[in-house]
């Protein structure tokens, strides 16, 4: 199903909600993320997600590592030898926190940290949803993708299907878990816990159309301020997953943040796969029949 800018994708409508609220989503503006991890904690608390213990990854200040069954929001910390640019002329106009920070911790090198809160992308064309053999994964009226935990049988098919490495299996119960866009809060008119807890509005929640406009303006603002590396990720409705319900403003290439540069919904090639499966099955039948040719009866 092709989607164009003129005709925005309507995953909730396509999933059988004739009258549904506008598609809701996240715009995560990593240029104002301070790495406080309030989102991770708020998500854990609201969704009653089990702790993973106190492990140190040893690779950076990121001791969570990545998204998984027990981590539905994950703050990445990227340490780079790159000059600190001034990413936000609109905030803290009377205080130059970057000069302050440089004065306090300067090592004489050009060094910067990128921080970014990652989450399930709630793809327009969602591979996890497509491949789920039980119908346990479903599309909500808000356009998000949610796992019904009482139907999930733990087959784990959604996990390698996700091109972003989001959904994962919880070892204790064998079932798959991921961000629900706080479906239980949305129904009551509340915003998701992570967005509510974010102190810098790095995580913004709202109707996707509105967020995309806001994000476009923000990128222009940053470009004008000289932050040439600012770019949107997952906002393009013509990309390999039909655009994401959760998209990002990044300050470097996606792979620097552990994100795939050009993800594609795995089921895009499925019609061709089924044709090759049919061809191969026919080849087996024909080949075996041919194996009996000239071998005679009895």
């Amino acid at each position: 199903m092709r989607t164009t800018r003129a005709q925005p994708a309507d995953p909730a409508g396509d999933s059988g909600y004739p009258d549904h609220p506008p598609r809701m989503g996240f715009f995560t503006d990593t240029s104002v993320c301070i790495g406080c991890k309030a989102c991770e904690v708020a998500c854990k608390e609201w969704n009653a997600i089990p702790a993973e213990g106190l492990d140190l990854t040893g690779m950076s200040y990121d001791n969570t590592g990545g998204l998984g069954a027990n981590t539905w929001r994950h703050v990445a910390f990227i340490e780079q030898n790159k000059p600190v640019t001034r990413p936000d002329p609109g905030l803290h106009q009377d205080q130059d926190v970057f000069t302050m920070a440089e004065r306090g911790t300067s090592t004489g090198e050009d060094f910067r940290w990128l921080m970014s809160s990652d989450v399930c992308k709630h793809c327009t064309h969602a591979a996890c949803l497509d491949v789920c053999p039980t119908g346990s994964l479903f599309r909500t009226e808000f356009g998000a993708v949610v796992v019904q935990e009482d139907i999930c049988n733990g087959c784990g098919y959604c996990i390698p299907a996700c091109p972003y490495g989001v959904i994962d299996q919880r070892k204790e119960d064998g079932r798959a878990w991921k961000c629900t866009l706080c479906y239980d809060r949305l129904g009551d008119g509340l915003e998701p816990a992570c967005a509510k807890a974010c102190p810098t509005d790095s995580i913004q929640f709202g109707p996707l159309e509105e967020l995309r406009e806001r994000a476009g303006r923000r990128v222009e603002e940053l470009h004008e301020a000289g932050v040439a590396d600012a770019r949107l990720y997952g906002a393009d409705p013509d990309d390999g997953v039909g655009g994401d319900g959760a998209f990002f403003l990044l300050l470097d290439e996606p792979e620097v943040y552990g994100l795939p540069p050009d993800p594609v919904v795995t089921t895009r090639d499925l019609p061709r796969m089924w044709r090759h499966v049919a061809g191969a099955a026919a080849a087996l039948l024909a080949g075996t029949a041919a194996a009996f040719l000239g071998t005679g009866r009895g």
């Binding site: 040893g58 690779m59 990545g66 990445a76 990227i78 340490e79 780079q80 030898n81 591979a127 497509d130 491949v131 789920c132 053999p133 039980t134 346990s136 139907i151 999930c152 049988n153 733990g154 087959c155 784990g156 098919y157 390698p160 996700c162 972003y164 959904i167 994962d168 299996q169 064998g174 079932r175 792979e255 620097v256 943040y257 552990g258 994100l259 795939p260 540069p261 050009d262 993800p263 594609v264 795995t266 089921t267 090639d269 499925l270 796969m273 089924w274 090759h276 499966v277 191969a280 099955a281 080849a283 087996l284 039948l285 080949g287 075996t288 029949a289 194996a291 009996f292 071998t295 009866r297």
Partner: protein
């Protein structure tokens, strides 16, 4: 290479690409070994054996046919056992059948198993007991028609994921898988067939090996660097062992016209070859998911190719 800083050794030292401390982009498949590679092998063995059994049944070679039929039933029973064992919540296997979903190869596979399994069962039970020959013949034909679907669909099961070595190989894997299934079924046939009836199993071994090898070579050429996991590490050793065993099995089958021992060795080699190939494909996929370069580099190349 800024994303690589922070103390951890990059997984791949030579290729230029950035990643988040060398951590995988994808969450790796949680499917267990030997459950799922075993399932792939047994499904191929069962499906192709049912086709071979129908051929022997039609040719009036009931001894070999019965072995192939019972082999198919045994293999499909074990494969369902492996599948159920792999599920975290085996009591929920029936949830697979609450929907019919062509976008999910696993769901379609559950329906194929549901259709094929009882046919293979009736076919084998009728052959062993000698009762209800007409129903047994009909079930034999039914199993021969649904068996190829069982042998082939597992390729789509793997390909319809974001795992680079599986997804990118989606054109060749079905042919590779039915070739491997034919090799296994031919192996079982060689073990069972008397000298006079061995020709069809031997022909199938040759055809299956040729198809499997051709599909593999073609896939390797087309995939470029994404094919590396099929050549290196434990997966590469298994794939090479599979190739060598199938060629050795075919040779034994060709030379073993008079020698029952040689035919038996050939049959065992072919069965082992099929298992090695399926295990190798499974492991190669896991390796390609664990290394971010197989996700990042092809996608980067795709973006560059699309840029004006």
């Amino acid at each position: 290479m800024a994303g690589r800083r922070g103390g951890e050794q990059p997984v791949v030292p030579d290729t230029e690409f950035t990643s988040y401390y060398g951590t995988p982009v994808l969450n790796p498949p949680v499917w267990k070994t030997p459950d799922i590679p075993g399932y792939l092998f047994l499904g191929g063995l069962a499906g192709a054996s049912s086709v071979l059994a129908a051929g022997y049944h039609r040719a009036g070679r009931h001894g070999v046919a019965t072995v192939a039929k019972t082999g198919a039933l045994g293999a499909v029973t074990l494969s369902v056992g492996a599948l159920v064992h792999d599920l975290g919540r085996p009591e929920r296997f029936l949830n697979m059948l609450r929907v019919f979903k062509p976008s999910s190869p696993m769901n379609i596979g559950s329906w194929i198993l549901t259709g094929y399994g009882p046919l293979a069962g009736v076919s084998a039970l009728s052959a062993v007991s000698g009762k209800l020959p007409r129903i047994g013949a009909a079930a034999t034909a039914g199993a021969a028609l649904t068996g190829p679907a069982l042998a082939a669909y597992t390729a789509a099961l793997l390909s319809d994921t974001a795992v680079p070595a599986w997804h990118e190989g989606h054109r060749e894997l079905p042919y590779l898988f039915v070739g491997s299934g034919a090799v296994a079924a031919a192996g079982l046939g060689l073990l069972a067939a008397p000298a006079r009836a061995v020709a069809p199993a031997r022909n199938l071994a040759v055809a299956g090996t040729a198809l499997e090898l051709a599909a593999f070579r073609r896939m390797e050429r087309r995939l470029g660097m994404v094919a590396e996991p099929y050549r290196g590490g434990g997966a590469g050793r298994l794939v090479r062992a599979g190739d060598a065993l199938s060629v050795a099995g075919v040779a034994c089958a060709a030379l073993g016209r008079r020698s029952r021992l040689l035919r038996g060795l050939g049959g065992a080699a072919l069965l082992a070859a099929s298992a090695c190939t399926k295990w190798g494909v499974f492991k190669a996929g896991q390796a390609s998911a664990a290394d971010p370069k197989y996700t990042v580099i092809p996608q980067r190349q795709r973006i560059r190719a699309e840029e004006p």
